[in-house]
């Protein structure tokens, strides 16, 4: 078996309870390798074999700087997590978690059994929804130039400029407040929530200000209600984008994981 060879590692995607669910035969993971299930201690780990000349520490250090490679690998990882999540409650594992072999994975399922069980219990029958709110930063109408414009055009220009900057600040403040309001409204329908950093326009692909980048863990039977609340929050100058349902990436962290490894930046997950 390749996974015991020195030049191969075992890449871990996700963990579920052992409920006898099956994966598509031909599900491929990162590096195009077939995904397989390791069942142990009442849990199932979804893994594939990866070559360490590409998934060892040194090669990864280089290739993760390559956004094309990173994007492709992230999509492959996500595809596997999604496929598993379609069948059963799933705890996604962070990108590029690589073990020496299957024995190490079984050891993990033994050692962290209770953590996985707790996490899987928390997310069962719930879905993660992503909500991003954007405010259009269109410049407010310029301030009145006044009489000075005739006699002292330079000063008038500067004053106008200053007024415009002030109103921009005010717009920012209002936009942030709207983000807060939306988050509060969504929290009331969710079991847990996390606020994440607003994405850069290069990442979001949108020029507007992202005033909210939230994740919400919602009971399965309240999904429609959640979507209705989202719809009701859209309004003039503000767009609210709903993504999902996601596998519960934002709510799967082990409770006692070291603090500095916690992925969340949020308030009340």
């Amino acid at each position: 078996m390749t996974s015991v060879m020195n030049n191969a590692g075992t890449y871990l995607y996700a963990v579920t309870r052992d409920e006898g669910s099956t994966l598509p035969e031909d599900l491929k993971g990162v590096a195009g390798e077939r995904v397989r299930a390791i069942t142990h201690a009442g849990l199932v780990a979804y893994v594939s074999t990866v070559p360490l000349d590409r998934f060892g520490e040194e090669p990864l250090r280089r290739s993760m700087e390559d956004l094309d490679w990173l994007g492709e690998t992230a999509r492959a990882h996500h595809r596997v997590v999604e496929a598993v999540a379609r069948t059963t409650p799933t705890a996604p594992v962070r990108l590029v978690t690589v073990y020496s072999g299957e024995d190490q994975i079984r050891d993990l399922l033994d050692r962290r059994h209770d953590d996985f069980a707790e996490t899987l219990g928390r997310i069962a029958d719930r879905q993660e929804w992503g909500v991003k709110a954007y405010v259009d930063p269109a410049a407010p109408p310029p301030a009145e130039a006044g009489e000075e414009s005739a006699t002292r055009p330079g000063l008038a220009y500067l004053k106008k400029r200053q007024a415009s900057l002030r109103s921009r600040e005010e717009s920012w403040r209002q936009a942030a407040a709207r983000g807060e309001h939306i988050h509060d409204a969504l929290k009331s329908v969710a079991v847990a929530s996390q606020r994440h950093r607003p994405q850069d326009p290069q990442l979001s692909g949108r020029a507007e200000w992202m005033v909210l980048n939230g994740a919400y863990l919602v009971d399965l039977d309240r999904g429609a209600e959640f979507a209705r609340v989202v719809d009701g929050l859209r309004g003039e100058g503000i767009d609210v984008e709903l993504t999902g349902p996601w596998a519960p990436y934002s709510f799967a962290a082990f409770a006692e994981a070291p603090e500095r490894l916690e992925g969340g930046t949020g308030d009340d997950a």
């Binding site: 700087e65 999604e82 000063l155 500067l158 900057l165 983000g179 950093r197 326009p201």
Partner: protein
């Protein structure tokens, strides 16, 4: 309603496409697979140091931080990832900022929000001076 795993997007903007399931965008995926999900410390074969993942995370978010702070959104200041408890991380942050700036110059990318905000601040200061 919908099964997990078929991520779709809905937006108030005119879609231009029939509604239904679209593939999730890469930014959302990267954010999740890098920043969230279970982190298992310990005897993994390939143990990417936190610093390396931080590097990538910073590359993704770096330009948005100043803009957001201007807006009064600063809750990530409490994020241990960015709080800078570790001097190395702060140094790495500075190094990345320099590299990003250099890369943007080199690639002649449109100037990011960071640069924009800084130049606006400069102009504000100028106006204040001349007003007095």
């Amino acid at each position: 309603m919908t099964e997990p795993g078929s991520v779709m997007r809905q937006s108030g903007l005119p879609a231009g496409r029939p509604s239904g399931h679209e593939p999730a965008n890469l930014g959302d995926i990267l954010e999740r697979v890098l920043d969230r999900g279970i982190v298992i410390a310990g005897d993994i074969r390939v143990n990417l140091l936190d610093i390396e993942l931080l590097t990538i995370k910073l590359r993704l978010i770096i330009a948005s931080v100043d803009t957001a702070r201007e807006m009064g959104i600063d809750w990530w200041e409490h994020d241990p990832w960015l709080k800078g408890q570790d001097r190395e991380l702060r140094e790495e942050n500075r190094r990345l900022r320099r590299r990003l700036a250099a890369a943007e110059e080199g690639a002649a990318l449109p100037r990011g929000p960071t640069a924009e905000v800084e130049s606006v601040d400069e102009r504000t200061a100028e106006v204040d001076e001349r007003d007095e």
